[in-house]
Symmetry: C2
Subunit: 232 residues, 2 copies
DNA sequence: AATTATTGTCATAAAGTGAGACAATAGAAT
DNA sequence: ATTCTATTGTCTCACTTTATGACAATAATT
């Protein structure tokens, strides 16, 4: 048998996560860069032999963002044998002075469970993992070339986010607890990549009966102050 | 190391498939029963070490139904360690006179990728696999107690089918190529488990511009003959 | 007090849906 | 041949939802 058996993790199975955040203007995702390789990738990881998939992903996202109880949706499994890239993994291990024999299992084929997360941009303090130089926010429309099929995973995540998700879940996770109607509209405009009609949007949101109205927000601007809302 | 290493399949990973069919009245799914165990389960299987997930599922569905190019949607991964049931697997292996040591990997923990398939009931000739007595259609509302978390997988599949799927995909895969408006309505009523208004349904379907009208169908009944339609 | 920019709400038109009416018609009954 | 029956295709009218523009309210500046 080649190499040393991997005792800790389930072999051939990984997760990757597209972590969405909203800075008030653009929709962004977190991308990490591996030491001395120029390789960019999605945050991801492996599942321990006796760990639930959900727990593995939650811990991975928490480690990199510092946020607990993140909204996560497991949206697709990527299972082609060709998607794996042992050469890239080799480069990463070498660049990090890792024992190649001990980590040989990492250069095997991987089937990955694609997730996306929605988090409040303000609350995040991104931390690179032990193999990575950096982890940073990138505008969804200027994501660099990523390793393996990670660009495909990002595109699919965005597609699913656009199609499948309810108003409440999007707003609740990408915005602070209290927000203005305009901010809520901007989140939707960023996700859908199109402008929405202000009056229709406002009427729609109010009619859904998911918002609680609070005090007004006085920003010191020379116009009527908007109400703050939160989700019920 | 316990047992003999599994050389053929990716360990700890399986797929399961909820195969939906429509007999003209009820929505049904295929369920198999293992020899001499009284254990019912969804059709499922493993992924070969160098096989794509999609290929594995396609082959599994084809073997059991005889149908190629089935519509498949991979809808959720079930990844809790507790979902596995080594004792049940043990029973199945014993009842089939299988070598326990050689198949020990089957009694390990499995993460499974849940799929559902939509197929034309008429075209199917269900065939049990080598571990199973039988494979049969069951009405969606009288599914027996299944092993492991398979009932949960069925429920989730139905939920996803109800929520996420377009008119065209449902009709196209659960009906013959040509069908009447009434048949199309009955598929929707079976899936949604509610009656629909005939005139509204007809107007909606025609307005979607996905149907092609063909000749009339003369069934020998004493009333106006309906048109046949197909999807564009 | 007038001005500016933006907000919350209303008015009207346009599009979509629910519910029933009705004529058309394939075959059976007479 | 005519009438009858069950079902289909389409239309109408009321009702609901959505689009679009108008307008008054208002926080801070001029």
């Amino acid at each position: 048998m080649k190499g040393i058996k991997n005792k800790k993790f389930i072999p051939n199975l990984s997760y990757d996560c597209v972590i969405f955040g909203f800075n008030g203007i653009n929709l962004k995702i977190l991308i990490l860069e591996y030491h001395n390789t120029g390789l960019f990738a999605l945050p991801g990881g492996f599942i321990k032999k006796n760990q639930s998939l959900q727990d593995a992903v939650n811990k991975g996202v928490e480690e990199r963002t510092g946020i607990k109880n993140v909204f996560l949706d497991q949206f697709q499994v990527f299972g082609k044998p060709e998607r794996s890239d042992p050469a890239a993994m080799h480069r990463i291990l070498v660049a990090n002075d890792k024992n190649l024999e001990k980590n040989e299992w990492m250069m095997d084929r991987f089937i990955t469970v694609g997730h996306y997360a929605l988090i409040n941009y303000e609350d995040v303090n991104p931390k690179p993992d032990h193999l990575s130089d950096s982890i940073d926010w990138y505008d969804i429309d200027s994501v660099p070339k990523l390793m393996m099929d990670h660009n495909e995973i990002v595109n699919k995540a965005l597609e699913v986010l656009r199609n499948n998700i309810s108003e409440k879940i999007i707003g609740m996770n990408l915005l602070p607890i209290k927000f203005t109607m305009k901010q809520l509209q901007q989140v939707f405009e960023a996700i859908l990549d199109q402008t929405l009609r202000r009056t229709s949007f406002q009427r729609k949101m109010l009619s859904l009966d998911i918002l609680q109205r609070h005090e007004k927000l006085f920003e010191g601007k020379a116009h009527k102050a908007p109400y703050l809302y939160s989700f019920k």
